[in-house]
Amino acid sequence: MIDHGRLSRLAALGAAAAIALSACSSGGSSPAATGAAPTTGTSPAASTAASTAPCGTVNIAVNPWVGYEANAAVVSYVLKNTLGCNVVLKNIDEQTSWQGFPTGEVDAILENWGHEDLVAKYITTDKVAQDAGKTGNEGVIGWFIPKFFADANPDILTAKTNPTVLNKYAAQFKTSESGDKGQLLDGDPSFVTNDQGMINGFGLNYKVVYSGSEAASNKAIQSAIDQKKPILAYYYTPNWFSSKVDLVHIEFPAWTQGCDKDPNNIKCDYPPYHLNKVVSTKFATSGSPAFTVISKFSWTNEDQDLVAAYITDQGMSDANAAKKWLDANPGKWKAWLP
């Protein structure tokens, strides 16, 4: 038997060196480096790697938010250019991604927000998927209001000890869609939400109104801030848009194990989310070096926000944004290599 492992490690090392070199020679953040086609610095090494490394094809789901896209950009760049993997990115939502595990359509999800029901079905019962470790990103889900509104009405932030304080403001959050109640704007129906349960549990005079998509929520929040109108919204960080809108998190009594057991009656805030990666069992046991990279992949909220900002504000392609961050943080990504 030929030692494929060592061979691929060698190839990977070569490619990694090439990346590092290109990073040095191009001076990191010079326009030439960022503007260049994504593979220029590494193409020779990458092509050698492609012919020898047993990486093969990796199907990565890309869920519809920019933070996720940042994860996918960086991971796929490393996989392509150091391991010579053929990375196939699939733009699909969370539920559809999990559905892809048993069929082989999806090998990896790079940012998973809880989803206990899916974990129970696909990991615990069907055993077609498994946890691949934390991404290092800490997710916060909760109710947010514009900062100007919090400044003008500071007692709304006492909801941590006195949730019913929100009822005082219900009339101000009323819209054409919420009848005579205050409106709580929820987003994409596939995102995790306890909001109706919290409204019931805390006895709040609010109605959940779904915007139907993240884009619609973001736009509605931006527009409310433009017009200096109050808005109460389900929101979360890390989130590429959070740097553009000045929002304040309304905290409720802290989450404790089991406090959100009855979905119709919840008397606590959302739990903190330690975002993780999920891969198909088939992929995890395939011996692919890509699995190692994906399971070792880990970075901070700031890292993700930075790459997300490259993609959105600076209009960079995913590959260029990834390259810019990788060039600047060689220490971080080298730790992910097999």
Partner: protein, 662 residues
Amino acid sequence: MAAPSVGMLRRPELRLSTGAQLGLLVVVVAVLFVPFRGTWNLAHHDDASLFKALNGIRDWVDANRTINPVFLYIFGPIRSGIDALSEALTFVFDHLSWVAVMSIATALGLALVSWRTALLVAGSLAFIGLFGLWTEMIQTLVLISTAVALSLAIGIPLGIAAGRNDRFLRLASPILDFMQIMPAFAYLAPLTLIFLIGPPSAVIATLIYAIPPAVRITALGIRGVPSETVEAATSLGSSDAQILRKVQLPMARRTIGLAVNQTIMMALSIIVIAALINAPGLGESILVAIEKLKVGAAVEAGIAIVLLATVLDRVTAGLSGSPADEHRLRRFDPAARRRVLLVAGALVVGGLLGGLILHAGTDFPSAWHVSIAKPVDQATRWIEINLNPVTDAAKNIVSKYLLDPLQTVLETSPFWLTIAGIGGLAYIVSGRRATVAVVISLAVIVLLQVWEHAMQTLTMVLVGVALTMLIGIVLGVAAARNRIVSAILRPINDAAQTLPAFVYLVPAVALFGPTRFTAIVAAVIYAVPAVVRLVEDGVRAVSATVIEASTSAGTSRLQMILKVQLPMARRSLLVAANQGVVLVLAVVVIGGLVGGGALGFDVVAGFSQRNFFGRGMAAAIGIVLLGVVLDRITQGAGGRRSVGSVARRIVFGAASNRPTAM
């Protein structure tokens, strides 16, 4: 509850008996509504028993997909077959440089239509390239070609059968209706369940939408062959097959060309929705741009879609040969025709060689890049910030005085009274058969446990259709009476009909918030062009003699419009209302993505959240049934069941640049 809908659908000229019947219906419904309001309301539950049962079906499919023979030997091969076809096309395009693609397309425009079309083709493609969307356009082209090839392969034989066999046509008609009324959005979830995510599912989604016009128009073409001709051929001893091959098909050739054209337009109209299940191309560019709130980038991709539609429409219009084109072709003597073909051939060869010599890649050179994204973004932001106070107020007024009261009536009316009222309306305007269909559809909506949300969606559709008709009639009459208005409106109409609604959803949210009204605005923008067109044609068709007679009798301009032109164009108005209803419904559902709620949101939820699959399925079927109800009532009012039902569908949702095929 029937009052608003009756008012909306009322014929301009009612015979007394019908009017009395409607009046009686309103009185009876109102009398029953007062004591019973608030009772027998079927409140919505997210976990209705039927939704759970449907979830069970989903779980079964998930568990058996890899072992069940139906999946292994039927769905699996269909999926791989479609995949292979699109891979083959991708392979072809992967080996054609952009120079070659451009010259072949231009040559086609020249050979099939005219010099002017050839220039239009070249210019449009160049623009798409300059926007940096060449690769995406090719991906879209592959998807469309695959879907259209399959649609025609299935649709034309079925259309021939429907053209030659009355019973087959009767059997196929409701199924085709169903396929066209059902918003594509609604069948994505079941499709991905069976065919998984990716291009094959997207192609099948497109097929469902694109096959009906292929069948219908082909049947229309075959039926359009005069029966005397067929009889003559029969008496001369021609066999059935000979009649088809030698008489019916050649004589229907032009109409079948129109079928090709309309099938392509249909396929193009759902590429953004197809992108929701991972179909690559321009549709995906729009979704990605919207997700980042980049309106400018979405507009660029939207314009690319409009340009691609224009190119495909103009080139395939050559196949159907509208009168103008025929005129153009007739001008050519055979020698000139040969010269044109020679030039076209030279263009193809030149393009292929030129691509090789210039080492042109498959992608348009990125150095030649033009972007309008920034100014569009800035302009949109300016509009969003400065117009919001006005638009927000408009939204609040319509919501408070139109949407809310109507919704309250529909929600608090006992379900049996609502069914009886709508059924009664159907009976009066459309007759017994339509009534049966309407009542059964409403009863099934009850059984689906989506009644409350169906009433909310119905509210939005009714308000949307009312606004659409109002705007459509005003613009249509203006265009019919004034050549300049018509000339200005036509390109705007073309663009509004082809530009995917998704492009303007984001600014609409900024102006109107995530609300029901936003969904209605998007639907109105989408539906108005078809209505304008039908009204314009209808009013134009009023004979000049009538107009002259009225003018000489001293009729004022307003009187002319209200008393002469509109009443005489009644049939066109009713067809327009029917079109409007179906188009508005299709987009109101997408409104679920921007705060529209109701059935559309249930479908969105069902598509993206596993636990809501059953709810989404039930809502999807509910939407179709609602479509059947609205369609049957307005179709009956239009009073053209046979030929009309075939012909009126032709313009449905289509991006045809010719006035209409009616």
